[in-house]
Protein backbone atom coordinates (compact mmCIF):
# COMPACT_ATOMS: atom_id res chain seq x y z
CA UNK A 1 0.00 0.00 0.00
CA UNK A 2 2.76 2.42 0.96
CA UNK A 3 4.68 1.24 -2.12
CA UNK A 4 1.67 1.99 -4.36
CA UNK A 5 1.28 5.55 -3.06
CA UNK A 6 5.04 6.12 -3.30
CA UNK A 7 5.15 4.80 -6.87
CA UNK A 8 2.30 7.00 -8.09
CA UNK A 9 3.62 10.12 -6.36
CA UNK A 10 7.16 9.60 -7.72
CA UNK A 11 5.91 8.68 -11.19
CA UNK A 12 3.74 11.81 -11.43
CA UNK A 13 6.56 14.05 -10.17
CA UNK A 14 9.04 12.39 -12.55
CA UNK A 15 6.85 12.67 -15.65
CA UNK A 16 5.81 16.27 -14.89
CA UNK A 17 9.40 17.39 -14.29
CA UNK A 18 10.55 15.58 -17.46
CA UNK A 19 7.81 17.43 -19.36
CA UNK A 20 9.12 20.61 -17.76
CA UNK A 21 12.57 19.94 -19.23
CA UNK A 22 11.23 19.85 -22.80
CA UNK A 23 8.44 22.43 -22.46
CA UNK A 24 9.84 25.22 -20.25
CA UNK A 25 11.13 28.18 -22.25
CA UNK A 26 13.90 29.12 -19.82
CA UNK A 27 16.94 26.80 -20.11
CA UNK A 28 17.97 27.40 -16.49
CA UNK A 29 14.53 26.41 -15.18
CA UNK A 30 14.56 23.37 -17.48
CA UNK A 31 17.82 22.21 -15.90
CA UNK A 32 16.39 22.63 -12.36
CA UNK A 33 13.39 20.58 -13.52
CA UNK A 34 15.85 17.94 -14.75
CA UNK A 35 17.38 17.74 -11.25
CA UNK A 36 13.89 17.15 -9.78
CA UNK A 37 13.35 14.40 -12.39
CA UNK A 38 16.63 12.70 -11.34
CA UNK A 39 15.58 12.80 -7.66
CA UNK A 40 12.18 11.26 -8.51
CA UNK A 41 13.93 8.48 -10.45
CA UNK A 42 16.15 7.79 -7.41
CA UNK A 43 12.91 7.37 -5.42
CA UNK A 44 11.62 4.98 -8.11
CA UNK A 45 14.78 2.89 -7.59
CA UNK A 46 14.02 2.75 -3.85
CA UNK A 47 10.51 1.43 -4.57
CA UNK A 48 12.24 -1.28 -6.69
CA UNK A 49 14.46 -2.28 -3.69
CA UNK A 50 17.59 -0.97 -5.49
CA UNK A 51 19.19 0.93 -2.61
CA UNK A 52 22.73 1.06 -4.04
CA UNK A 53 21.48 2.37 -7.39
CA UNK A 54 19.42 5.06 -5.67
CA UNK A 55 22.54 6.27 -3.85
CA UNK A 56 24.58 6.14 -7.08
CA UNK A 57 21.83 8.07 -8.89
CA UNK A 58 21.87 10.83 -6.26
CA UNK A 59 25.68 10.99 -6.25
CA UNK A 60 26.33 10.86 -10.00
CA UNK A 61 23.28 12.55 -11.54
CA UNK A 62 22.05 14.97 -8.88
CA UNK A 63 25.53 15.66 -7.55
CA UNK A 64 27.77 15.74 -10.61
CA UNK A 65 25.98 15.79 -13.99
CA UNK A 66 23.45 18.47 -12.93
CA UNK A 67 26.27 20.73 -11.75
CA UNK A 68 28.08 20.14 -15.07
CA UNK A 69 24.93 21.10 -17.03
CA UNK A 70 24.34 24.23 -14.89
CA UNK A 71 27.98 25.21 -15.40
CA UNK A 72 27.69 24.75 -19.18
CA UNK A 73 24.51 26.90 -19.26
CA UNK A 74 26.31 29.67 -17.36
CA UNK A 75 29.47 29.42 -19.50
CA UNK A 76 27.63 29.63 -22.82
CA UNK A 77 25.54 32.72 -21.84
CA UNK A 78 22.92 31.67 -24.36
CA UNK A 79 20.06 31.72 -21.82
CA UNK A 80 18.29 34.74 -23.33
CA UNK A 81 17.56 32.80 -26.53
CA UNK A 82 15.50 30.31 -24.51
CA UNK A 83 14.82 26.81 -25.74
CA UNK A 84 13.09 27.13 -29.14
CA UNK A 85 11.77 24.23 -31.20
CA UNK A 86 12.85 23.45 -34.73
CA UNK A 87 10.55 22.59 -37.63
CA UNK A 88 10.48 18.88 -36.69
CA UNK A 89 8.23 19.57 -33.70
CA UNK A 90 5.07 17.85 -34.99
CA UNK A 91 6.84 14.78 -36.46
CA UNK A 92 8.79 14.38 -33.21
CA UNK A 93 5.53 14.53 -31.22
CA UNK A 94 3.93 11.90 -33.47
CA UNK A 95 6.98 9.62 -33.17
CA UNK A 96 6.92 9.93 -29.36
CA UNK A 97 3.18 9.13 -29.17
CA UNK A 98 3.63 6.15 -31.51
CA UNK A 99 6.52 4.90 -29.35
CA UNK A 100 4.46 5.04 -26.13
CA UNK A 101 1.51 3.36 -27.87
CA UNK A 102 3.64 0.55 -29.28
CA UNK A 103 5.43 -0.19 -26.01
CA UNK A 104 2.20 -0.06 -23.99
CA UNK A 105 0.48 -2.42 -26.44
CA UNK A 106 3.45 -4.83 -26.36
CA UNK A 107 3.77 -4.79 -22.56
CA UNK A 108 0.07 -5.30 -21.88
CA UNK A 109 -0.16 -8.21 -24.35
CA UNK A 110 2.87 -10.11 -23.08
CA UNK A 111 2.62 -12.80 -20.40
CA UNK A 112 5.56 -11.93 -18.13
CA UNK A 113 6.99 -14.78 -16.06
CA UNK A 114 7.08 -12.75 -12.88
CA UNK A 115 9.15 -14.46 -10.21
CA UNK A 116 7.71 -14.75 -6.70
CA UNK A 117 11.13 -14.75 -5.00
CA UNK A 118 11.36 -11.81 -2.57
CA UNK A 119 13.98 -9.22 -3.62
CA UNK A 120 17.32 -9.04 -1.83
CA UNK A 121 17.19 -6.23 0.70
CA UNK A 122 20.69 -4.73 1.09
CA UNK A 123 21.94 -5.08 -2.49
CA UNK A 124 25.35 -3.45 -1.98
CA UNK A 125 27.34 -6.54 -0.96
CA UNK A 126 25.66 -8.70 -3.63
CA UNK A 127 26.52 -6.11 -6.33
CA UNK A 128 30.11 -5.93 -5.07
CA UNK A 129 30.36 -9.72 -5.24
CA UNK A 130 29.09 -9.69 -8.83
CA UNK A 131 31.27 -6.77 -9.94
CA UNK A 132 34.59 -7.94 -8.52
CA UNK A 133 34.43 -11.73 -8.91
CA UNK A 134 36.15 -13.49 -11.80
CA UNK A 135 32.95 -15.21 -12.97
CA UNK A 136 31.13 -11.85 -12.69
CA UNK A 137 31.81 -8.52 -14.41
CA UNK A 138 35.47 -7.82 -13.58
CA UNK A 139 36.45 -7.12 -17.22
CA UNK A 140 33.86 -4.32 -17.75
CA UNK A 141 34.87 -2.92 -14.35
CA UNK A 142 38.47 -2.75 -15.60
CA UNK A 143 37.43 -1.15 -18.92
CA UNK A 144 35.12 1.50 -17.37
CA UNK A 145 37.98 3.56 -15.78
CA UNK A 146 39.78 3.61 -19.14
CA UNK A 147 36.62 5.06 -20.71
CA UNK A 148 36.32 7.63 -17.91
CA UNK A 149 40.00 8.59 -18.24
CA UNK A 150 39.61 9.00 -22.00
CA UNK A 151 36.51 11.18 -21.42
CA UNK A 152 38.35 13.38 -18.89
CA UNK A 153 41.37 13.85 -21.19
CA UNK A 154 39.09 14.47 -24.17
CA UNK A 155 37.10 17.11 -22.29
CA UNK A 156 40.30 18.87 -21.18
CA UNK A 157 41.70 18.87 -24.74
CA UNK A 158 38.40 20.15 -26.19
CA UNK A 159 37.99 23.16 -23.87
CA UNK A 160 41.69 24.07 -23.56
CA UNK A 161 42.66 27.59 -24.64
CA UNK A 162 44.90 27.52 -27.69
Amino acid sequence: MVLTIAFWALAIVGVLSALGVVLLGNVFRASLSLILCFIAIAGIYITLHADFLAAAQILVYVGAISILILLAIMLTRDVQHGSPSNKLRLPAFIVAILFVGTVTFAVLNTRWQVSSVPPQEPTTSAIAGLLFSVEGFILPVEIAPILLLAAIIGAIVLVREK
Binding site: T4, F7, A11, V15, A18, L19, V21, V22, V27, L34, F38, I41, Y45, L48, H49, A50, L53, A56, Q57, V60, Y61, I65, L68, I69, A72, I73, L75, T76, D78, P84, S85, N86, L88, R89, A92, F93, V95, A96, F99, V100, V103, T104, V107, W112, Q113, V114, S115, Q120, A126, I127, L131, F137, A144, L147, L148, A151, I152, A155, L158, V159
Partner: protein, 103 residues
Protein backbone atom coordinates in the same frame (compact mmCIF):
# COMPACT_ATOMS: atom_id res chain seq x y z
CA UNK B 1 -4.40 -2.56 -7.50
CA UNK B 2 -0.83 -3.35 -6.61
CA UNK B 3 2.13 -2.07 -8.58
CA UNK B 4 3.60 -4.56 -11.04
CA UNK B 5 6.17 -4.81 -13.79
CA UNK B 6 3.85 -3.21 -16.37
CA UNK B 7 3.61 0.04 -14.39
CA UNK B 8 7.38 0.48 -14.34
CA UNK B 9 7.82 -0.40 -18.03
CA UNK B 10 5.09 2.05 -19.09
CA UNK B 11 6.59 4.77 -16.85
CA UNK B 12 9.94 4.07 -18.49
CA UNK B 13 8.36 4.27 -21.97
CA UNK B 14 6.68 7.60 -21.16
CA UNK B 15 9.93 9.11 -19.87
CA UNK B 16 11.80 7.77 -22.94
CA UNK B 17 9.19 9.30 -25.27
CA UNK B 18 9.49 12.68 -23.52
CA UNK B 19 13.28 12.53 -23.94
CA UNK B 20 12.90 11.45 -27.58
CA UNK B 21 10.58 14.39 -28.31
CA UNK B 22 13.01 16.80 -26.68
CA UNK B 23 16.06 15.39 -28.46
CA UNK B 24 14.36 15.54 -31.88
CA UNK B 25 12.57 18.89 -31.63
CA UNK B 26 14.82 21.25 -29.65
CA UNK B 27 17.37 23.67 -31.09
CA UNK B 28 19.37 24.48 -27.96
CA UNK B 29 22.21 21.92 -27.79
CA UNK B 30 22.21 21.81 -23.96
CA UNK B 31 18.48 21.00 -23.91
CA UNK B 32 19.13 18.19 -26.42
CA UNK B 33 21.80 16.79 -24.07
CA UNK B 34 19.40 17.00 -21.10
CA UNK B 35 16.76 15.10 -23.13
CA UNK B 36 19.34 12.37 -23.84
CA UNK B 37 19.99 12.10 -20.08
CA UNK B 38 16.24 11.58 -19.51
CA UNK B 39 16.25 8.78 -22.12
CA UNK B 40 19.20 7.04 -20.43
CA UNK B 41 17.44 7.24 -17.06
CA UNK B 42 14.26 5.78 -18.56
CA UNK B 43 16.26 2.80 -19.85
CA UNK B 44 17.76 2.36 -16.36
CA UNK B 45 14.27 2.18 -14.83
CA UNK B 46 13.31 -0.57 -17.30
CA UNK B 47 16.54 -2.50 -16.53
CA UNK B 48 16.02 -2.39 -12.77
CA UNK B 49 12.30 -3.23 -13.08
CA UNK B 50 13.04 -6.34 -15.18
CA UNK B 51 15.75 -7.35 -12.70
CA UNK B 52 13.38 -6.87 -9.74
CA UNK B 53 10.40 -8.76 -11.20
CA UNK B 54 11.86 -11.42 -13.54
CA UNK B 55 15.17 -12.46 -11.91
CA UNK B 56 15.22 -10.99 -8.37
CA UNK B 57 18.09 -13.22 -7.22
CA UNK B 58 20.59 -12.33 -9.97
CA UNK B 59 20.82 -8.47 -9.87
CA UNK B 60 22.10 -8.38 -13.48
CA UNK B 61 19.90 -5.39 -14.31
CA UNK B 62 21.51 -3.44 -11.48
CA UNK B 63 24.97 -4.10 -12.94
CA UNK B 64 23.80 -2.97 -16.39
CA UNK B 65 22.31 0.20 -14.86
CA UNK B 66 25.62 0.96 -13.11
CA UNK B 67 27.51 0.70 -16.42
CA UNK B 68 24.88 2.86 -18.15
CA UNK B 69 25.46 5.50 -15.44
CA UNK B 70 29.23 5.32 -16.07
CA UNK B 71 28.81 5.74 -19.84
CA UNK B 72 26.26 8.56 -19.33
CA UNK B 73 28.73 10.43 -17.13
CA UNK B 74 31.44 10.15 -19.80
CA UNK B 75 28.95 11.20 -22.50
CA UNK B 76 27.79 14.26 -20.56
CA UNK B 77 31.40 15.35 -19.92
CA UNK B 78 32.50 15.12 -23.57
CA UNK B 79 29.19 16.49 -24.91
CA UNK B 80 29.29 19.60 -22.73
CA UNK B 81 32.98 20.12 -23.57
CA UNK B 82 32.12 20.00 -27.29
CA UNK B 83 29.25 22.48 -26.74
CA UNK B 84 31.55 24.89 -24.87
CA UNK B 85 34.17 24.54 -27.62
CA UNK B 86 31.59 25.29 -30.33
CA UNK B 87 30.29 28.29 -28.37
CA UNK B 88 33.82 29.65 -28.06
CA UNK B 89 34.37 29.45 -31.83
CA UNK B 90 30.93 30.33 -33.24
CA UNK B 91 29.15 32.27 -30.43
CA UNK B 92 26.06 30.04 -30.67
CA UNK B 93 24.78 26.70 -29.38
CA UNK B 94 21.77 26.62 -31.71
CA UNK B 95 21.91 23.14 -33.27
CA UNK B 96 20.32 24.38 -36.52
CA UNK B 97 23.11 26.94 -36.99
CA UNK B 98 25.94 24.48 -36.27
CA UNK B 99 26.03 23.32 -39.88
CA UNK B 100 29.73 23.40 -40.74
CA UNK B 101 29.82 19.67 -41.52
CA UNK B 102 26.40 19.61 -43.18
CA UNK B 103 26.47 18.61 -46.84
Amino acid sequence: MSIGLEHYIILSAVLFAIGLYGALSKRNAIVILMSIEIMLNAVNIAMVAFSRYIVPALLTGHIFAIFIIVVAAAEATVGLAIIIGIYRNRETIDASQINLMKW
